[in-house]
């Protein structure tokens, strides 16, 4: 029996979905090693403690809450020092972070502080005795690497979306603790956090992604992609590198080898030929739909469903049909 640790990421006073994913993974690991406890760490501005109970719903037995005005935004130094201290003193078998933007910064810092190795950006894991094996997509998704991590604690960062949050309700004990170092003394300071328009879901969290490429011929035609995403109701909008390079869409919308790597339930590629750079970012989507005028475009080789033809006729029709299908039930 061994206890496990989860870092519960919050932003703007709210838990992020990746926090629930980390707690779910920690629960799985604790159960796999004979049913230990899950200890979660939650940091934020005063008031964040109100979110602790929700972590119990996903399987946390103990939530340590660090409330401090200097933790309102991500404070790398205080977060790393505090997480490292909790992990060191807790004697955990495994510790889970998200490989989110924040977690990709935090987890390696914690690993270096503890002097233990980190399995990064993991899509699945298993515990056997003193070994943790983990799968990690590498080489732009063209190779799946199975990693073996020995020793305790096994530090793992989870690819966002790879673990689905599972409710395993219990009443978590909630304790409050001070940060391991004064957040006010941090050398690196986040002076501004700008939320982008929250009208649409984030690429990492949306079950459906509608993405546009050069075939759209101009920034103004992304309206078609936006409309289709709106019709789905649970969709984010992505783009190819060619499109973000041309400034039709912000760089943050880019899906591909040098952009975001996504695995939605449904990926709709509109006017995208399917360069390797782009496929690297979306080939693990569960279902892929491609709409392109060139029947020989590489995207059709990996698409589950393709329609060859003029996207300017096809996409508006698809938008109508999706809207009808969704209102029918």
């Amino acid at each position: 029996m061994a206890n496990t640790f989860a870092y519960a990421e919050a932003r703007g006073g709210q838990l992020r979905k990746v926090a629930l994913e980390a707690v779910t993974a920690a629960r799985q690991a604790a159960d796999a090693s004979g049913g230990g406890e899950v200890h979660a760490l939650l940091t934020g501005a005063p008031g964040i403690a109100a979110r602790a109970a929700e972590l119990g719903r996903y399987g946390a037995d103990l939530v340590t809450v660090i409330e401090h005005a200097g933790l309102e935004r991500y404070n790398a130094e205080a977060a790393a020092a505090t997480a490292a201290e909790r992990i060191r003193s807790g004697g955990y078998r495994a510790a889970f972070f998200s490989a989110s933007a924040e977690g990709r910064d935090l987890a390696p810092r914690v690993a270096a502080r503890l002097g233990v190795s980190l399995a990064s950006d993991v899509t699945g894991f298993e515990l056997h005795g003193d070994t943790l094996t983990a799968t990690h997509p590498a080489y732009t998704g063209k190779v799946v690497v199975t990693l073996r991590l020995t020793g305790s604690p096994a530090l793992v960062s989870l690819r966002p979306g790879a673990v689905s949050p599972v409710e395993q309700p219990r009443t978590a004990r909630v304790e409050s603790a001070p940060p391991a170092v004064d957040p006010g003394s941090a050398k690196v300071v986040v002076t501004e956090l700008a939320q982008r328009a929250a009208a649409r879901m984030d690429l990492g969290e949306a079950p459906v992604i509608v993405s546009g490429g050069r075939g759209l011929r101009g920034a103004e035609n992304f309206r078609l992609v936006e409309d289709l995403a709106d019709a789905f109701g649970n969709a984010a909008v992505g783009a190819t590198r060619a499109v973000t390079d041309d400034g039709w869409r912000p760089a943050t919308d880019q899906i591909g080898q040098t952009g975001r790597v996504v695995s939605p339930d449904l990926y709709v590629a509109v006017g995208i030929s399917g360069a390797i750079q782009h496929l690297a970012g979306m080939r693990t989507a569960r279902t892929i739909v491609a709409i392109n005028k060139d029947k020989d475009a590489p995207i059709f080789k990996i698409a589950d469903y393709g329609i060859v033809g003029d996207l300017f006729e096809i996409v508006p029709r698809l938008t109508d049909e999706v809207r009808k299908a969704r209102s029918a039930h």
Partner: protein, 246 residues
């Protein structure tokens, strides 16, 4: 400025007979994408400051000298190879070897790409920062330096952060910050005469190793539903009844 040699990602990969590595036959290598942006940023900063030099560091077999020469051709002053037969997968082992080399270098900035495009772990930069007890901002896509301080921007999911930090610092570079320049013929000629020092890498025993590698299952795609807008009805039916995503 730390760079890594990675295989050309446009290639079709095969798994070697040991099931734990890539079949080296036909592999071509290049500098990692993000490392290229980082080299460019380093060069621009030194050019703007009007003084200083860019030192480029890589860990790996002698093949890494090729990408070190490329960085020299772009304009870096000198290069160091930390020689190792192979590059371990364990980021902490790499970070310790790099930190040992960087510790007494007196650098104002230590730059990395935000991740190597082959192992795609993105751990070494922040680890080196912690080992050297330096401030670190990872995955930045905007950067301004002013005297002894810097301001960087980084993109999060659905948001962006503005971050200030003092020098010296460790930064890891995301895409969108700068386009790597092409080396001029003059640069390529000059690079041949620039110093490239070879030292043994101080590599410890990794706790994280590759147990196996596999190619992901081929997508059984390739099904054309139809042509033109008339195929939409059939597509929607398939999305609802077969893929069950509607």
């Amino acid at each position: 400025m730390c760079v890594k040699r990675v295989p050309d990602m446009e290639m079709r990969f095969a798994i070697a007979a040991d099931r734990r590595s890539l079949d080296p036959a036909g592999l071509k290598y290049e500098m990692g994408d993000f490392d290229g942006y980082a080299v460019e940023i380093a060069l621009q900063l030194v050019e703007k400051a009007g003084s200083g030099e860019v030192v480029v560091l890589s860990l790996g077999p002698d093949g890494v000298q090729e990408i070190l020469r490329k960085a020299l051709a772009m304009g870096a002053s000198r290069a160091v190879q930390l020689k190792a037969d192979e590059v371990p997968f364990d980021g902490l082992i790499i970070a310790r070897a790099l930190a040992a080399e960087l510790k007494d270098g007196g650098y104002d900035l230590i730059l990395f790409g935000r991740m190597a495009t082959d192992t795609a772990s993105g751990t070494v930069g922040p680890m080196v920062a912690e080992l050297l007890d330096l401030p670190c901002v990872s995955s930045i896509s905007r950067l301004q330096l002013d005297g002894g301080r810097g301001t960087a921007g980084r993109d999060l999911e659905g948001a962006s952060e503005t971050v200030t930090f003092p020098l010296p610092a460790v930064l890891t570079i995301d895409e969108g910050i700068a386009r790597p320049r092409l080396a001029s013929l003059k640069g390529i000629m000059a690079a041949k005469k620039k110093p490239l020092e070879v030292k043994p890498a101080a590599l410890g025993t990794p706790a994280l190793v590759v147990e196996s590698m596999a190619l992901p299952p081929e997508r059984t795609g390739g099904r054309i539903v139809g042509e033109g807008a008339d195929a939409v009805a059939e597509l929607v039916r398939l999305l609802r009844t077969e893929a069950k995503v509607l």
